[in-house]
Symmetry: C2
Subunit: 193 residues, 2 copies
Amino acid sequence: MGLERKAKVAEVALRCAVCALAALAAALVGTGSQTRTFFSLEKKARFTDMKALVLLVAAHGAAAVYSLLQLARCAAAAAWKGGSNGGAAVVAWSVFSCDQAVAYALMAATAAALQSSVVGKRGQPELQWMPVCGLYGAFCRRVGEGLAAAVAAGLAAVLLAAVSAFNLFRLYGGGGGRKSSAGAVSGNGANTW
Amino acid sequence: MGLERKAKVAEVALRCAVCALAALAAALVGTGSQTRTFFSLEKKARFTDMKALVLLVAAHGAAAVYSLLQLARCAAAAAWKGGSNGGAAVVAWSVFSCDQAVAYALMAATAAALQSSVVGKRGQPELQWMPVCGLYGAFCRRVGEGLAAAVAAGLAAVLLAAVSAFNLFRLYGGGGGRKSSAGAVSGNGANTW
């Protein structure tokens, strides 16, 4: 199996993983809620109570939809294999940029949500922010599961960003043999992989 | 100026930017403090009161040191230009991995700190977390300046990660002409840039 084919398979597999994991994370966090009654006062915990969780649901939902669209593009590209490829560089550049943006957005949203959740779980006594997970245990567990899926989706998106960087920048090889520093690999790297 | 030389110049410039901005962010956040007296009770606000700011200072401090080391490597590579290049792939792979890790770490730490700071500034009334910036205005402004530098350092690190991906993956080009999809660019891309 050639290097290019391996990259294609890895790309499709990673896009499926990002799509499934991001959708799972958004669904787990977005649908969780818990209602408790304190002295006849009913209070409901939802993800909208914490801005970082809203951001997480939005980012992961958008990433799932984007991955689906990209999978459709991959399928279309495979179907019309013999078509023109004059736009290959434009397509590779836009796919690369979008994949990078998705990877950084997922990592940032996950980091912000993790940060908020740690404060929610342990509190921040220096600022008199009290932990809330003692009251809403079931909701916190649900958010924890969602965060685990979000971290997995983020890691898949990071790997995918590397694969799409590979797909783009190898187009600019070929001139590597001109200078000494790149010559060691460009000669055989493409074949030994 | 050739493509490879442009990439080298961009790499050195971006490493300098990451080093300076990350050091600035860590210094601004790390050295800020404000003492206030409430009814004969003295309270001091420091970055250690907020876990996310500790993470920010640690991540950006480490990134600044790492960038310095990488600049030293660039200088050494420029000095011994005629040396052996059998390890080019190993070096490019490890530089690529480290640069990616730094970019994601800076983005994640900055996102977490931003999230914490927004809660510190506006509070989270749903959870009875009160804003603290009304009490420690000068400290909050200092942290805000640090966060601006942190965001700039993160963006420079993201660009740097892309340049180092370019430096690595172009080594695997050259085989691009075998398949139709890459042929459109690999022939002239390296020369027209």
